[in-house]
């Protein structure tokens, strides 16, 4: 059986969600336990049930008919961030993601079927708002105006945001400070100087609504590096929001829309600047085994993270000195899922005057993990605190991360703890260096 979540729907013949998993994949785990310390939830809780080896043990016990996928077992699997740090740590090459993702998807589907309840947050906010940058921007308009008029600060100080319940409350707390995003992205931008490559740019949804300024920075950096850039119409969300909320069909629709929107023969690469989207798109070929699979695989083969792409192309050295201490946080979906750790560091090292300090526990998730911080706020905040403490220990003024989710999570931590720090994307900083400008920093903590 292949590990496709398509099989989740057929999960009714006895072993429950375990039917969605290829049993052979369990056998790669030799139970050595070397993964445990890489797992954020094991590190926090110290319980095998909340570590990768234990979770595999539990899923296999379900597959073997020893246990049912319910009660505390379900909770332990839900609490997994799917950050895949354990895959990096695992010497045996266990594909943990390919175990836990289909298993959880089938478990959720089954559970939802049992409950028969309408989850408005999932159906409306996750599936009808997040994946559409335009709708999301519209929904945020009152907040943006409140922020611009200075009313937002008052609302925060009065503690009114705490009145917003549950996942909506978590979501509101994650809204970043206002930044001017800039105009709509055009359909084409020409290379500066000699043309070295032609790329297509993936825009995404939440990334475009919240980090359009980073998109512009990325596009300018690509232009500086001699790239013609096309930005095709018809592209949408990468599908990760659906996939991680156990909506395999919704994810497949997004994937196929993207596959149709990009002309693969016309470009050298599809460049994406947020790790969560990049990881999802690189796995388009794995998730669904149907007639479209070869086209999805061909698409996936062209996807490049912007750090990876520029590093391979050879960065045109940026001229502007930025004499600051910064630190770089490895987004799980870049470091663990795509195994890209050195390229962003090599790019940053070329900014004159910049000192990049090693971040302790850089490989441990910040707690964002897609929409995890909305669903599991308790653990997400523990991990967020842990991340911020490590950042502060480096003495850096800027923390860099190549993923929208991490940036939102870390920005919230910075804001709530009032640390004199900025979080930004490596492309934001490279862009400043090309333009010989300086980042705007908050004043260092006074007395």
């Amino acid at each position: 059986m292949n590990p496709s979540p398509d099989n989740a729907k057929r999960a009714s013949n006895g072993r429950g969600p375990a039917d969605a998993v290829d049993y052979e994949l369990f056998l790669h785990c030799v139970h050595c336990g070397l993964c445990t310390s890489s797992c954020p939830t094991f590190t926090e809780l110290g319980d095998e049930n909340d570590g990768p080896r234990g979770r595999i043990h539990l899923m296999r016990a379900v597959a073997d008919g020893r246990l049912e996928a319910e009660g505390p077992l379900r909770r332990h699997l839900e609490l997994c961030l799917d950050c895949r740090a354990c895959e990096t740590a695992c010497p045996s090459g266990v594909h943990y993601g390919r175990l836990v993702e289909p298993f959880r998807m089938a478990m959720e589907t089954q559970h939802r079927g049992l409950l028969g309840r309408f989850d408005w947050f999932r159906e409306i906010v996750l599936f009808r708002l997040f994946p559409y940058a335009g709708r999301l921007r519209l929904a945020l308009t009152p907040v943006v105006w409140a922020q611009r008029l200075g009313v937002w600060g008052l609302i925060e100080r009065l503690g009114l945001l705490k009145l917003v319940p549950g996942r909506m409350g978590e979501m509101v707390s994650l809204l970043p400070p206002p930044v001017s995003g800039g105009p709509r992205l055009p359909k084409f931008l020409p290379a500066k100087g000699r043309r070295r490559a032609k790329v297509a740019f993936f825009v995404g949804c939440v990334a475009d609504a919240m980090f359009r300024h980073t998109h512009w920075a990325t596009l300018r950096v690509l232009q500086e590096n001699g790239c013609d850039i096309v930005i095709p119409d018809g592209q949408g969300c990468c599908g990760a929001i659906h996939y991680h909320a156990a909506d395999s069909d919704g994810a497949r629709r997004e994937a196929d829309a993207n596959v149709a929107a990009f002309d693969l023969d016309d470009v050298d690469a599809i460049v994406v600047n947020h790790a969560g989207c990049g990881a999802m798109m690189k796995e388009y070929g794995l998730h669904w085994q149907d007639a479209q699979q070869p086209r999805r695989q061909a698409f996936a083969d062209k996807v490049r993270d912007v750090n990876e792409f520029l590093d391979a192309l050879g960065l045109v050295p940026p001229p502007g000195a930025i004499e600051l201490v910064v630190t770089y946080h490895d987004a799980c979906h870049l470091g663990h899922a795509q195994k890209i750790t050195e390229p962003p560091r090599r790019l940053l090292a070329q900014i004159p005057g910049l000192v990049v300090k090693d971040l302790p526990e850089t490989e441990i998730c910040c707690g964002s993990a897609g929409t995890y911080n909305l669903n599991e706020p308790g653990m997400a905040r523990r991990l967020g605190d842990r991340k911020l403490e490590n950042v502060v220990r480096t003495g850096a003024r800027i923390v860099l991360a190549s993923n929208a989710g991490c940036l939102l999570q870390i920005l919230r931590e910075i804001h709530e703890h009032r640390e004199p720090l900025v979080a930004m994307h490596p492309m934001d900083l490279l862009d400043l260096s090309y333009r010989s400008e300086q980042p705007t920093l908050p004043e260092a903590k006074g007395l």
């Binding site: 790669h28 094991f42 095998e48 049930n49 539990l58 505390p72 010497p91 090459g93």
Partner: protein
């Protein structure tokens, strides 16, 4: 799921520690049925997460009162079944006691709780110029409490010694719930408690806190990777290097079978047709290191080394060590299950034992690959099998028994660093005379009169309590 009716023991544990520190749901207990030794399994009655020595005391007392056994566990990386629950067992997870309490560079010690992972201490010490020397291959995960309980070794024990050489003091809970505190100040006129408790595998006490020695980082390293066409040449070189009076910091051997797995996992660029590779590290003051490196290279060439690579920088050195330390886990790429053995022989017997291991594997139809801390004669034959094939499992056990018996026949032992656990228990009567075992049982009885601490490990049950 309806909560099952709680037993009186579980109810009292929950009252003492709080419900969040006690697991008793059947599904929650399943992951604790074994550690990294998966051949035997037994689901415990409960799992508890004490947060202090006082809470460990409460757990031990309650278990004693209810006749339950107490199985201490950290990261659960034991390869000998040291954390296997036996009978009505309560697993005591020390993973929530994970603070580095003090780092004292002037006096060169650190105080840690038992659940601190070995690597977490290294991280806490980064940049100070000091480190904790014992570096078992499991160090990214395994806890210092577990390292002490098993007297863990590692590649660098060749020069720096094993865990017991790096423990200055300890706090431990005995079988009756009393607390023993030893050191860290050297106190003449005392028994060597540390020598006794370190390596006692949780059978004499549960270690809760340690004072550990900090070792200055070496000023410089040279790390070599040497490729040989035969295992005999590689082991010959090892003995010769030591015979010439050179004590490298580490001298590690990997054979052809394991090289294939490691190469697939880490893509370091190991030659797949090599029969054996040595990773040799020397450290100390920069002056003299190059000369020593040249001497080692000369000796290796005399033993027909076909290629000698000097690690060019810290990154390459780290990659080389990652390959060696993750080698065992990488075996998952070769087969669904394995047993890693832990035999030790006099160094000069290395060629003999490795030849015999190959013969034994062939005779039993079992595939065996090898890693070895060659510098101290410690071999780790890894026997590959599929746990779903009962007859193959039987053949693996037979091969294991035979190769360990061969280690004893060579004047060696059946464990150098993994401990006895449950796995090596049957060999104890081959290693020790009945009177010795009886003495061990009496020591155990003195520390743990009710016999509740990690029963069925380390010392085989005697005919009568005092043998």
């Amino acid at each position: 799921m309806m909560p099952t009716t709680l037993s009186p023991l579980v109810r009292e544990l929950r009252a003492a520690l709080g419900p969040g520190q006690v697991l008793s749901e059947p599904s929650d207990l399943v992951p604790y049925e074994c550690d990294a030794f998966t051949v035997e399994r037994h689901v415990p009655r409960a799992v508890v997460f004490p947060r202090s020595t006082e809470e460990v005391v409460q757990v031990v007392r309650l278990c004693g009162r209810h006749g339950a056994s107490v199985v201490p566990r950290g990261a659960g990386t034991s390869l000998a079944g040291g954390c296997l629950p036996r009978g009505e067992a309560v697993v005591v997870m020390l993973t929530r006691m994970k603070s580095v309490l003090e780092v004292n560079l002037r006096d060169r010690y650190a105080v840690v709780e038992a659940g601190v992972p070995n690597l977490a201490l290294s991280r806490a010490l980064a940049g100070t110029g000091f480190h904790f020397a014992p570096d078992p291959s499991s160090q990214t995960a395994s806890t210092l409490g577990g390292n002490a309980a098993t007297n863990a070794g590692g590649p660098h024990t060749l020069k720096y010694g094993v865990t017991v050489n790096h423990v200055l003091g300890l706090e431990a809970v005995l079988g009756d719930g009393s607390v023993l505190r030893v050191g860290p100040v050297a106190d003449p006129g005392q028994f060597d408690w540390i020598g006794l408790l370190v390596g006692s595998e949780g059978t004499l006490a549960i270690l809760t806190k340690l004072w550990v020695r900090l070792t200055p980082d070496p000023a410089d390293y040279r790390t070599l990777r040497v490729v040989f066409n035969t295992v005999d040449d590689a082991t010959g070189a090892v003995s010769d290097i030591i015979a010439q009076g050179i004590i490298p910091a580490a001298m590690e051997l990997m054979d052809r079978g394991i090289i294939a797995a490691v190469e697939e996992a880490f893509h370091f660029g190991f030659p797949l047709d090599a029969e054996a590779i040595l990773v040799i590290e020397i450290d100390g003051l920069t002056a003299g290191l190059d000369a020593q490196g040249r001497r080692i290279a000369e000796i290796c060439r005399k033993w027909n080394a076909r290629e000698i690579l000097h690690a060019a920088d810290a990154g390459q050195r780290e990659a080389l060590w990652q390959c060696r330390k993750m080698a065992v886990g990488a075996v998952g790429r070769l087969s669904p299950s394995y047993i890693i053995q832990d035999g030790v022989v006099p160094r000069t017997k290395l060629p003999h034992i490795l030849r015999r291991i190959a013969q034994i594997g062939q005779a039993h139809g079992v595939r065996i690959v090898n890693v070895a801390h060659a510098g101290d004669g410690n071999v780790h034959p890894i026997l590959l099998f599929d746990e779903r094939d009962a007859r193959e499992v039987e053949r693996v056990h037979a091969a294991s028994r035979e190769l360990l018996a061969e280690c004893i026949a060579c004047g060696g032992s059946v464990t150098a660093e993994h401990g006895i656990g449950v796995e090596k228990l049957p060999f104890m009567s081959q290693l020790f005379a009945p009177a010795d075992l009886a003495a061990m049982r009496r020591v155990r009885h003195a520390f743990d009169p009710s016999g509740c601490l990690n029963p069925g490990k380390l010392v085989p049950e005697g005919e009568t309590r005092d043998g």
